[in-house]
Each structure stands twice: as structure tokens, then as C-alpha cells.
Symmetry: C2
DNA sequence: TCACTATTGAGATGGTGAATCAATTTCATT
DNA sequence: AATGAAATTGATTCACCATCTCAATAGTGA
């Protein structure tokens, strides 16, 4: 029993439930995906480029979207590209972003998280992940 | 003194500070922008299409990005397009998003806002805006 | 007004992600 | 193991959004 192969079970469940099939490509893409916190289709493509039978870019996209449907991944539009976040890795760091110099500070705040859960519960939601970005001006840029 | 022309001052400040110019196009685009809560470049283009001297799509994109730099707007990738949110209109509604059906619920929570200010202060930041999105599953989709 | 510089607009370009479809692979059933 | 229906793959094409290019134009400080 491997410690990091809980997710393949989740994937198998989803595949079985939707009459989909477990292919070599899906396994290979999952193996790479599980080791990353987040990845783009392009990055994944490059990482798998040296595999013996090539994996096409279209398959990468399809499979990452499949992971989203199976609840393993979550798509996030970042700049022009789509980041596929690994849900199991969610040591979610939130961000403070300086709109002047672009400096980014990561933070984590349990109180905020608790309040988020509360808001979600009041609205009947079960939170899987979140994104919190604070935009402002840092000390240096305030002159 | 017009009540809705505070933003043109902000824009002028930004332009002056960066040696940029106030053009007819920028004024027209601002006028439309100020009346919308959020808008895409494509929408803006269509709304200005009947103006006497045409405004090119490239200019729309450039100007909306300028507004972001000036702190009047905030870009948000939604689906395949980019939404430009009018910051002055946002009685900052944050979002609860169902990853299954796409349902979006807006909410506001003063306690969270207060904690955000605190985090920012501890890091030497002065917050201008923020973006908070909670992703999860809504009641209907949980079966 | 002048001169300098930023801006504009039409079109070309780039880049992401999805659609197509013939060939291939999976897997439940023999 | 073999079969065959159904899903998957991958090379390519396609659609779309946003940015870049560059000659012509317009704003601004003197």
C-alpha cells in the first residue's frame, strides 16, 4: 500500500461511475500531476515529452479537465494560461500583492479561513479550496 | 462638481505621473466604463461602435489595461474572456462558486475584511482592493 | 505655434485550449 | 485467451482572445 496512491482510487471510482477507461496515458499524467502542487498543460506536456510513446497535447488537456471533474484538480486562470491545482496539496497560501512594484507576500490566516467556512455553511456550500488576494501598496512603494 | 467624476481625477493623476496623455478615446472609454459594474473589451467595443471616429479594439484593450494600472479597474479572467471590474462599483462582493454547476453566490463579510486589513498592516501594506473566491459544492450538487 | 513624444488603428501575430476523425486501445463478456 | 462494442488517442485544424507592429495622428509643455 503506497502512501501517495490514494488519488488513483478516486480516479478509478470516477472512471467506473462514468463508463470511462483507465489508460496508460491517464496513469502517466496522474503520476506527474500528483507530484506537483500545480501545473499547466504545457508544462505537463514538456515533462512527458521524453516518454517512449509520445503523449499528445490534446490528451493532456482532456485528462487535466478529467481530473477536475473527478475532483482531483481545480482549474485556475492565471494570466493567459490555466493552472491545474492539485487539491491534495492544498497548503493554500494566500497572497498580498503590491500593485506598484509587483512584490508578492504569502500569508495564511486561520481566523479568515474559519470565517470562510462559516460563510460557506450559511450558503449551503462545502468548500474545497479558495483564493484570496489582497491588492495594495507595500512599505517601499508608499515613499 | 459632478458626483460621478471623481475617477477622472484619479486617471489624470496617473497619466501625469507617468507622462501619459489624456486622449479623446481614453475619455470616452472611461465614460462608458464608469457606468458599468464590469465589462469585457468586446462589449466595450460594441458599445462604442457607433461613435463618429471609430475606436479600435486594440485601443480598448490598451485603455482597459491602463485603467488597471491606474487602480480604477481590476482584471478578472472569467471563462475564456477577461472581465474588467469597476473598482468604485464594488461594494466588494466576494464570491462563492460551485465547481459542479458553476453557480455563483455573492457575499460580503465585514469580519473577514477586518482581518484582511490586519494581515496587510502586519506586512506593511495598504490595501486598495481584494479578491476572495471560495470554491466548493452547493446544496443541489451534493445530492 | 512648434517640436517632441505618446497614442491610435488596421492588420498581422501569438498562444491557449477545444474540435475533428481515423486508427488504436480498453475491458466486459464470452 | 479471444471478441467486439465503445472509449481514447493524437496529429491536425480551428476558434478565439489579446497583444504586437508601425506609419499616421494627436496631445502637451515650452
Amino acid at each position: 500500500m503506497h502512501k501517495d496512491h490514494k488519488e488513483i482510487g478516486l480516479l478509478r471510482d470516477h472512471l467506473a461511475k462514468h463508463q470511462l477507461k483507465l489508460t496508460r496515458q491517464r496513469e502517466q499524467i496522474l503520476n506527474v500531476f500528483l507530484r506537483m502542487e500545480h501545473i499547466t498543460a504545457e508544462q505537463m506536456y514538456r515533462m512527458l515529452a521524453k516518454k517512449d510513446p509520445h503523449i499528445g497535447l490534446a490528451t493532456i488537456y482532456r485528462t487535466l479537465n478529467l481530473f477536475c471533474e473527478a475532483g482531483l484538480a481545480q482549474a485556475r486562470h492565471f494570466g493567459t494560461q490555466t493552472q491545474y491545482d492539485n487539491i491534495s496539496h492544498k497548503g493554500h497560501h494566500d497572497h498580498l500583492i503590491c500593485t506598484d512594484c509587483g512584490k508578492i507576500v504569502e500569508f495564511e490566516n486561520c481566523d479568515i479561513e474559519r470565517l470562510q467556512e462559516e460563510v460557506a455553511r450559511r450558503n449551503g456550500f462545502t468548500i474545497k479550496t479558495h483564493k484570496l488576494e489582497l491588492y495594495g501598496v507595500c512599505t517601499n512603494c508608499r515613499h
